[in-house]
Structure formats: C-alpha cells, structure tokens
C-alpha cells in the first residue's frame, strides 16, 4: 500500500512544546514532525496529553514553550480561527457538531471560510451569493456521496446515531479541503464494522485528496495498520517516535503502555 504513496517534505514541525494548566503539566518538551501525505498516529494512555497536543496544533491552546511550524511558517500565539484558514481541520473526541443544524448545513458550515460574497448579496440571496451557495453545495454533495450519507442530508444531526455523527463530523472537516486533518479518536465507541468503514474513509481521504492526517486512537491494531509513523505520549512526555514496527519493539512503550494495559 505504501509503495504507491510518496511522502513529501515536512508539513508540520512541532518543536519542544510545553503547556501546563495551573501547575498540572499537560505536555513537556514534545517534538515531532509530520510530513506531507503521511498518516501519523498519536497514542498513549488516558491523560497522556494527546488531545492537548491537537489543541496546540490548531491554536486552541497556546503552548507556554516551544514553536509550531506549519507550512514553513513558525508561530507561537495564534487566534484559534486562523488555523482553519491556514488549512488545518479537525474532528473532536466528544462529537462537536452543530446539533440544531442538518447534516447538509453542518458540512456547508465547514466551507464557510471559502465563501466570500458580501452582506448585500446575501440579503437578497441572489447574484454572487446564490452562485456561491450553489457551487459549494455541489462540492458538499460530493463529500456526502463520498461518505455515503445521502439519506441523512436533511436530518438534524442531533437525531443521528453516534457512528453517523462521527461521519458527518469528518465530512465537515473535509469540506474545508484541509492540508492537515486532525482526528481525535475517530473510532472511539464504534463496533468492528463501523471501525472498518471509518478506516476505509481515512485511507481514502489520504489517498484521493492527498490529505496529511494526524490521528489519536486507542485501538492498537488500527493504529499499527494504517499509520506511517507513531508518536507515543505518556504523562505529557514523548516516549517513542517512529514507524509502527519500531514503536512496537520499543521497550519503554511495552512497559508503559502495551505491556501493562488492562487486556
């Protein structure tokens, strides 16, 4: 599978990130990089700082130390909404969909930042505004086809089952046509078939759109199967970093995580 893919240059460089909340150190001096077109997994026990890491990458948390370089531009403080403009999209551990809106509207919202028409035309819903709505609708319909959620297009997402909500959330992230896609436990709470479906979507996204993906996942078999490289966090520190095989062989990881897990 990896044979046909060409991993490119460094897209995201995380360098010496530390963050703490009132004395609790969530992350301590974590560094790694993500290359274009690869799938990188972040694993680690609960509370290891995985979600905090994603929050730092997309500018929701501001690390106290270290720099994050995305597409060659280093940054330390950034307003949260700018990360989306730079091409970072994400999904959330606890689904964060807009519950009062339909599937279609949720995914359309993901394209909001690509829409430019001014207030005047929007008031009339005519001219440039209408044209824009229709163009983006067409794009969103492609995503809907891709994720096979045509039937729930107009259903309010609050009424959808968990697995479908996760899929809609992926759709919303994809709508922004991101360069970097962050997935926070995309398969948590799913059964085998749903996990397989989700894996297929992730691999397809990576393959067809060439999107770089950083994901957090607990299911080891999934992680080992689909990721190119793995970062292991424990108590906010980087424990290991490398290909799945390297990580699997790493004694620290076996001790801290795989060896003493509750299985």
């Amino acid at each position: 599978m990896t044979a046909t893919r060409n991993i490119g240059d460094v897209l995201l460089d995380v360098n010496g990130i530390s963050i703490s909340f009132g004395g609790v150190k969530a992350l301590t001096d974590v560094s790694f990089d993500v290359r274009e077109h690869e799938i990188l997994a972040i694993i680690g026990p609960n509370g290891a700082g995985k979600s905090s890491m994603l929050n730092c990458i997309n500018g929701f948390y501001h690390p106290q130390e270290g720099t994050i370089t995305f597409k060659g531009e280093p940054r330390q403080q950034m307003q949260t909404h700018k990360s989306a403009l730079q091409g970072i999209a994400r999904t959330f551990q606890n689904i964060a969909l807009f519950k009062g809106m339909s599937t279609l509207d949720n995914i359309m919202t993901g394209r909001n930042l690509k829409m430019k028409s001014n207030l005047f035309w929007q008031m009339l819903y005519f001219g440039p505004a209408l044209k824009e709505e229709l163009e983006h609708r067409a794009f969103v319909e492609e995503i809907i086809d891709f994720l096979e959620i045509e039937a729930i297009r107009k259903t309010p997402v609050g009424k959808l089952p968990y697995g479908l909500q996760k899929r809609v959330e992926l759709g919303r992230a994809l709508a922004a046509e991101p360069d970097l896609l962050l997935l926070d436990e995309p398969m948590a709470g799913m059964n085998m078939e749903e996990k397989q479906d989700m894996c297929r979507y992730i691999l397809d996204v990576n393959d067809e759109f060439g999107t770089t993906i950083v994901l957090i996942e607990h299911d080891m078999s999934v992680v080992m199967d689909i990721s190119d490289r793995v970062v292991v966090l424990d108590y906010g520190k980087k424990l290991a970093y490398g290909t799945p095989d390297e990580v699997r062989a790493n004694q620290d990881v076996i001790d801290a995580y795989l060896g003493v897990s509750h299985e």
Partner: protein, 311 residues
C-alpha cells in the same frame, strides 16, 4: 470644562470637605448593599444547586412579602404569619420542582433561565391578584430609632437588618460546608447526573434549595418591605441583584455578599457625588454599567473560578 470639573475635581473636594457626610453616605450604601446581598444570595443558592439562573427571585421576594402582609392584614400575629409564609414558600418550591424543573431536566441553562422568566410573571400576577397591588406597610416591630456615634448618624433598624443578614449568611455558609445535605447540594450543583448516580435524591434537593431560597426571599422581602413598603417596585429592586451576581460570581456566597456591598456603596456614592454632573438619577443604570465594565476585566467575577475549556 465645567463638566470635567464636575466629574474629576468637585466630587473629591466635597468628600474631603465633609468626611462625616461621606461616611454617612457610605454607611447608607452598605445598608442598601446588605439588602442587595440578601436577594443575590437567593440567586446564588439556586444557581449552585440546580444550575438555574432564577430570574424569578425578585418576584419571590415580592410574593413572600405580599403573603406576609396579607396574612397580617387578616389579623394574624407576626409569628403565625411568618410560619404560614414559610409554609407557602416551601409549597411553592415543591410546585416549581414538580411542574417546572422536573420537566426541564437536562435542558440548556438558557432554556431554564427563560422558564424562570415565565415563572416570574406567574408569581407576580398571582401575588397581586391575591393580595392587591397597592403599596402596603409592613411592620415587624424592629426598632427604628436614629442615634449618633462619632458625629455619624446611624439607624437601629439598618443595624439590625445588617445583623440579621450577617446571621443568615453565616448559617447558610455553615450549612453548605458542614452538613450532609449541604454536601449533597454542592454535588448536585456540579453535575446532575453524577449526583443522581451516587444516590442523591435530586428532586428532594431541589425542593430543599428552592425552599431555602424562598425563606431568604422572605427575609429580604421583610427588610425591603419594612423600609420602603411592600409594592411592585420590589421586583425592580431585585433586578439590581443581577449586577451584584456578576460582580461576585454566580456560584460564590461570599461573592454575593461582597458584590452586594460594593454595588450598594458604589451606587450611593456615585449618585450623591457624581449624579449632579450627569443630571441625576444615575442609580437606575450605574450598577449595571459598573458590572459590565468589571466583566471586561474579569469575566468570571470576583470569586468565580476560571474555566478551562476543553474539547
């Protein structure tokens, strides 16, 4: 120029000119502040225990005072009136739980807030239908005499009001901190479902806390009523408790007290010294603007906790 003088120079000259008068203004403000604190306390209690921002607290104050006055007008002695009014407030708490809160479990805070606005109107309407809407005098037999200490004019009624307020606050704080019921209340405030799962009877807790808030409302109603008469404007005075809450933080009992005192003093001092510069009657909005300005610097209030948002 004249305006600048009236804002930045003249008030301070006045204060320096007559410190005794200034002290009296401050004390008057503190007394009003105690009243605000009492109303705000009712808000905080309910917010802590049920996560409901009870807009109707003001109406509860009016309703409790109206009930007491109504009973006393019928010739009931004070003790009986108090007893029956407390009974009425407990029954009201039960009704709120039974017909409102229970049906709105797990709804968003804002929905609950709007429901209490509805409840507020029901209560106002009912109270005024039952007991009329004229201004009523309430006499609970507190001594009302003025005396002088160190050149400052004081009033026994104000002092006893402050004393009663202090006693209430202390006992409530002890109740919250040291009794099992208090612990259960705090648990409920944190997380409804988690509290339920460890066997705390949510519905009972709500009835208790709304009853306590009802009693606090009664005390506040008696104080305001004895001072200014029982009338509809009590509801508007109670609205002043909102900026108090913002200042103090929604979940903090000490915050309600300190916030009430700050607003009380600030408002009086501003009205007396700065009011003329703005054409007077700035009491109507001063508290809100103060709270608003404060919010910009410390959104969680004086004693509120900073929230770490997670996704």
């Amino acid at each position: 120029m004249e305006f600048l003088n009236a804002v930045f120079v003249a008030p301070f000259l006045d204060i320096a000119d007559s410190p005794v008068f200034f002290a009296e203004v401050v004390i008057g403000g503190l007394m009003a502040g105690v009243m605000y604190s009492l109303v705000a306390l009712g808000f905080v209690l309910i917010f802590k225990a049920s996560g409901v921002f009870n807009y109707a607290q003001g109406a509860m104050v009016l309703f409790a005072a109206l009930t007491l006055v109504g009973l006393m007008e019928q010739g009931a002695p004070l003790w009986l009136g108090l007893l029956v009014t407390v009974g009425v407030m407990v029954a009201l708490a039960y009704a709120v739980e039974r017909f409102m809160l229970r049906k709105l479990i797990n709804q968003e805070g804002i929905i609950l807030f709007m429901a209490t606005i509805g409840f507020n109107f029901v209560l106002e309407g009912t109270g005024q239908i039952a007991f009329g809407s004229d201004v009523k005098r309430l006499d609970v037999g507190l001594p009302d005499k003025s005396f002088e200490t160190g050149g400052i004019l004081l009033n026994t009624f104000d002092l006893s009001a402050a004393f009663i307020g202090a006693v209430m606050v202390t006992s409530l704080a002890l109740f919250f901190q040291y009794t099992p019921t208090g612990r259960a209340l705090r648990a409920v405030a944190d997380d409804h479902q988690a509290a339920l799962s460890v066997g705390i009877p949510l519905k009972t807790i709500w009835v208790i806390v709304w009853s306590v808030a009802g009693v606090v409302a009664l005390v506040a109603g008696i104080m305001w009523g004895a001072k200014a008469g029982v009338q509809f404007s009590l509801v508007l005075i109670a609205l002043k408790a909102l900026p108090v809450l913002i200042l103090g933080g929604f979940t903090s009992v000490p915050g309600a007290i300190v916030g009430g005192l700050i607003i009380g003093v600030g408002e009086k001092v501003a009205e007396v010294y700065w009011g003329p510069a703005f054409g007077g009657a700035i009491e109507s909005w001063f508290a809100y603007m103060l709270a608003l300005a404060f919010l910009l610097f410390r959104p969680q209030g004086l004693f509120g906790e900073k929230i770490i948002e997670r996704v």
